[in-house]
Symmetry: C2
Subunit: 354 residues, 2 copies
């Protein structure tokens, strides 16, 4: 048994892996591998349709919302969003709450003025910036709902008059929220949606109509919608893994069901960290992430020892991001409560000896 | 037994599917699925390194060549190439030998002047245009070495003084050629390299240095090279399937070995078509593709009947592209000679009855 606390690519439900493995040999009794079927066949078209409709159902999206499964990951969205919506003479507002949001703002500055409306870089992004103003003429406000690297999460969303664009790569589908208030949401699949190699985009049709420049086909959200995410050959297998994961999520009671479980998991871990003086969470209490729990150990020798112990107990992915150091434990949807229990027991045991 | 003549996504070697299926459950004894491992782990880094070095070995690339595995498919390359290399006041030459080349030229016109130096659109792209002139100041000449939809293939490459850029999506690794004469080669993986969801790019370091504008990170070949195709989370599983397919190709005697087999397969099919009056190949004899064999049947009733017969015999993917009609039989590297024999036997049997 390996305990996979990786930040992404990360743990997937066992049921998903079993079915994906079978589909590589024979997809739905077609006698063909999911890797070999044409994307313009009823067999795959039904995969894409179901993935899109399940997303709409689970996120309770309104009729104006479109769902896309696109190539390229969130880093592609960093420039695709401003390429579509930020005019060369325009302004877009960016909340700088972590290294990914900072990178998104940098990409936007290639297309127009990217105004950072607030930043928590003054304290290594250990909190979520609050109480900022957004220019009323901004094409959109871009936020990152969960900062994977730094371990902060937004629990309140700004009430703004401009369209809200959110990178939800590391907390999408993990908690209930009004997804309909966002004009555009994007999320790399490799945390809560599926495997690496595809990005989910949810957007308002009315927002999509505001594109400001001529676009290459692959960058044009409008064309992707018209073509049902089949403008070119989609990442067939990656979309299929999304479908399997979405089905699994539905079987777990949907977003509400998984949110309860996520709260149990993160509460157990944070309570343990707070109770043990050897471990110190790094982020502001009110901004703690349920998905990525970041902490340090002030004694470097003990830290080394604990890391080695995790390794010995086959707990992988607990080392902090290279830019932060310390520890990071990711508790995505597919992580069982029992695995968090094993980790916290290990922590208590370790602390008792030190 | 299903005979998979799909044009892409298409047939993959059985050994590749078996190993990919196993790796979904347990990758190399790590206890983790290939879908769950972090991309910045030695386990995956070695996959990427081996995929790159095997590509260099199989294509016999010189020391100036770099290999990348990128998100997005060939359609992304249609605009990424001019975005990198075509200045707004510059010119790039395009050979218009099929619908994909035509689309590539259209995308280039967003970035500068895309000059179509020759076209075979006058006869539905049933031949490869020859004997054209390329402006000496062109940033590059773009060609499509095999036209998947129309079934033509370039057997001679233009001798030009400008950098040669080639879309080799449907015939890469299928025949020996001097890959080093190309400044940039790209190919969607879902035909001869692996599964859908990744694109291979081979480029000269010196050509890459000619980028003409500021680029978003994900569009910048230079950044991808610097980061060893790990600028962001790569399409991990798709790259892994490439590696398995490259290993398989090596075991088959490399490109030379597979080329001999491809010649046997396509000769058998074309000879059969030429011998039977009911079937009529549509493209100029000297430009026939070894990968995609396109033909029609002049009697529409017989065509319907033959299509139904293929369906009954579990031969899939033989229907022509929606833009061309008729039939298209794809014979990529992984297609066994024996399957082509079964198809041609069926053709002879059918013709004998009509």
């Amino acid at each position: 048994m390996v305990y996979n606390f990786n930040a992404g690519p990360s743990i997937l439900p066992k049921e998903v892996l079993d079915e994906a493995s079978r589909a590589i040999l024979d997809f739905n009794g077609t006698g063909l591998s999911i890797l070999e079927i044409g994307h313009r066949t009823p067999a795959f078209e039904s995969v894409m349709h179901e993935a899109i409709s399940l997303t709409k159902e689970l996120m309770q999206l309104g009729p104006d919302k479109e769902v896309m499964f696109l190539h390229g990951g969130a880093t592609t969205q960093f420039f695709q969003v401003p390429m579509n919506f930020l005019d060369v003479h325009g302004v877009a507002a960016y909340l700088d709450g972590g290294i990914w949001g900072s990178k998104a703002a940098k990409e936007a500055s290639l297309y127009g003025h990217a105004e950072v409306v607030a930043s928590s870089s003054d304290r290594q992004y250990t909190y979520i910036p609050k109480g900022f103003k957004v220019p009323s003429d901004a094409s959109y406000l871009h936020i990152t709902t969960n900062n994977t690297v730094e371990g902060t999460q937004m629990w309140h969303f700004p009430d703004v008059d401009v369209p809200l664009v959110a990178d939800m790569s590391s907390d999408i589908l993990s908690r209930e929220m009004d997804f309909n208030r966002f004009s555009l949401i994007y999320a790399g699949a490799q945390k809560n949606i599926g495997a690496a190699g595809v990005c989910m985009v949810v957007a308002d049709k009315s927002f999509i109509s505001r594109r400001v420049r001529k676009l290459p086909a692959m960058m044009d959200y409008g064309k992707h919608i018209e073509n049902g995410s089949m403008l070119n050959t989609p990442p067939v297998f990656a979309v299929y893994v999304c479908l399997l994961t979405l089905r699994w999520l539905k079987s777990k009671g949907g977003i509400k069901g998984i949110e309860d479980e996520n709260l149990r998991k993160s509460s157990l871990l944070y309570d343990t960290l707070d109770a043990l003086p050897q471990f110190r969470p790094t982020v502001a209490k009110e901004d703690r992430s349920q998905m990525n729990v970041v902490f340090v150990m002030d004694d470097p020798e003990a830290a080394e020892e604990f890391l080695a112990l995790c390794d010995k107990e086959r707990m992988v992915g607990v080392k902090g991001h290279r830019s932060v150091g310390g520890f990071r434990v990711s508790l995505y949807n597919a992580m069982p409560f029992e695995s968090v229990k094993v980790l916290t027991d290990l922590m208590r045991h370790f602390a008792g000896k030190h």
